[in-house]
């Protein structure tokens, strides 16, 4: 049954990408909230925040990129929910296709959509004075980490997409993910936080990912952060993929 995986995936991916191309608003709305937050922090609050680095937008951008991903992946849950509700998944299930291609098409579409949203946000940051000194290798590393994180979180997003009872429920899981960067080194250095909050901030994945991306942009040594970040991403990916696969098998019997 999996002998058609590649061609089935191609057909279904073409379908999902058309959805994005015909409703570019999903990419715009994904980028609008992080951009608004970036404007707020850089031009309103940033002046009062001492990060030790020359420009606050340079400090802030990695966290904003994570928020972009967190809000972007909720569209995967939303689209998957609509597919299930509309009965088109059932139609696919009754056809001689590679069943896993249905999920992979949504996941790969999420990677493409998020990549575009991230590019839009970075474009705005450049206009606002973001000046990375990263070389080609650093950029590849940044894109690689962000894509890995998107992949991992998208598989997590598949689970509410498959199980939600309403469209709102399918999307709601991303709210805590959007909030998580606030309790990390994304907006302010963790050194000023009180003990327990600081402990949490320094041991949660956002800080490792944000610090790594920030160091890569600034061509600073990434140290241990990159391994901690990668370990978190791979761990979340493994759990998300397994959870999504089990849920899918149970949901579509």
């Amino acid at each position: 049954m999996t002998r058609h995986f590649v061609s089935d995936l191609g057909a279904l991916l073409g379908r999902s990408l058309r959805h994005i191309a015909r409703s570019p608003d999903t990419i715009i709305t994904t980028a609008v909230m992080p951009i608004a937050m970036m404007l707020l922090f850089v031009y309103v609050l940033g002046g009062a925040i001492d990060t030790g680095s020359a420009s606050y937008v340079d400090y802030l951008l990695p966290g904003i990129l994570l928020i972009t991903i967190a809000s972007g992946i909720s569209y995967t849950a939303f689209r998957l929910f609509l597919d299930l509700k509309g009965g088109i998944v059932e139609r696919f299930q009754s056809m001689p296709i590679a069943r896993s291609a249905v999920l992979w098409a949504h996941v790969l579409t999420s990677l493409v959509a998020n990549l575009i949203s991230l590019a839009v946000v970075i474009g705005v940051a450049l206009i606002m004075g973001f000046r990375p000194v990263a070389g080609v290798g650093d950029w590849i590393a940044v894109v690689g980490i962000l894509l890995l994180l998107t992949l991992a979180l998208t598989w997590v997003a598949v689970i509410p997409g498959l199980t939600a009872k309403s469209a709102d429920g399918a999307v709601a899981f991303s709210y805590p993910l959007i909030f998580l960067p606030f309790i990390s080194s994304a907006f302010v250095p963790t050194a000023t936080m009180p003990g327990p909050v600081r402990w949490f901030a320094e041991h949660q994945p956002v800080t490792a990912v944000v610090d790594t991306v920030r160091s890569l942009f600034a061509q600073q040594p990434v140290g241990n952060d990159i391994w901690v970040a990668l370990a978190w991403c791979v761990g979340v990916l493994a759990v998300g993929y397994l959870g999504a696969s089990l849920t899918y098998r149970r949901r579509v019997a």
């Binding site: 059932e90 139609r91 056809m95 001689p96």
Partner: protein, 265 residues
């Protein structure tokens, strides 16, 4: 009732059972469908029609009993069953954002058929959707959507087709269009199992009628056989009044082919 068949049945169901928690939906269903027949599965809401169709089309697992479709077991040979069938679910399972043509091409590609475009064009033509083929499905009327849905089920000419309440929610005009499509299918030798809660629909379309009630098939036979279950008809004379449906169809002129592709009403 009579279940005798000469050739191997296209669909064979034995003692099929399915529960959702404490709710026993199917309590031992037996059914045979001969190749090329149109069988209507008649039952009220919640009788288990959809559950039976979903089990036969391999998207739901049964709790007990056995079922084969096209000679293949729905559990152990699901892949072969899927090659032989297509399912038109209760709600038109079409992609709203894609155009009608793109929907058909997608299904043709997923069925691994050569020349998906030609297949799409032929089916659009057959279901009078050629003019609407380039428009997003979101702009279609209910009847057009259902016609596209059925057209998508015909991609690749599967020998066995399941239609789950194909006319529920359609206006009378669209309903007749769907009936026409089903009749054409049967003329082409396709086996059709359709579920309906409308008695007249079963009477119009089906060679055989099976009544599903409280999880079992309680009656299975031709319309004539079913009618023989009751005492012979009494002859009474009544004035033939047109029904509201007759009036509606006469006033809107359902037979004109040019309105088929019209705007959603």
């Amino acid at each position: 009732m009579s279940t005798a068949t000469m050739s191997a049945p296209a669909i064979s169901v034995r003692e099929l059972s399915k529960s959702y928690g404490d709710l026993q939906v199917l309590r031992g269903v037996d059914l045979d469908v001969t190749p090329g027949a149109i069988v209507a599965l008649l039952g009220s809401n919640g009788a288990g029609k959809t559950t039976l169709v979903r089990i036969l089309s391999t998207v739901l697992a049964a709790d007990g009993g056995a079922a084969s479709v096209g000679g293949f077991d729905v559990t152990s040979q699901a892949a072969q069953v899927r090659e032989a069938i297509s399912l038109t679910g209760q709600f038109a399972a079409v992609d709203e954002i894609l155009t009608g043509r793109e929907n058909l091409i997608l299904i043709a590609r997923l069925r691994h058929l050569p020349d998906p475009r030609a297949i799409a064009d032929a089916l659009l033509e057959k279901f009078s959707l050629t003019d609407a083929g380039g428009r997003p499905v979101a702009t279609y009327s209910g009847g057009m959507r259902r016609r596209l849905d059925i057209a998508m089920s015909l991609v690749g000419n599967p020998p066995i087709i399941f239609l789950d309440e194909p006319t529920t929610g359609l206006d009378p005009q669209a309903r007749i269009e769907v009936w026409q499509a089903v009749k054409e299918l049967a003329a082409g030798g396709t086996t059709v199992l359709l579920t309906t809660q409308y008695l007249d629909e079963a009477e119009q379309l089906a060679d055989r009628i099976a009544i599903l009630h409280e999880g079992r098939i309680i009656v299975d036979g031709t319309l004539a056989e079913l009618k023989r279950l009751l005492p012979p008809a009494e002859v009474v004379y009544v004035e033939k009044q047109p029904t509201l449906e007759d009036v509606f169809l006469a006033v809107v002129g359902h037979t004109s082919a040019t309105t088929k592709d019209g705007d959603p009403s």
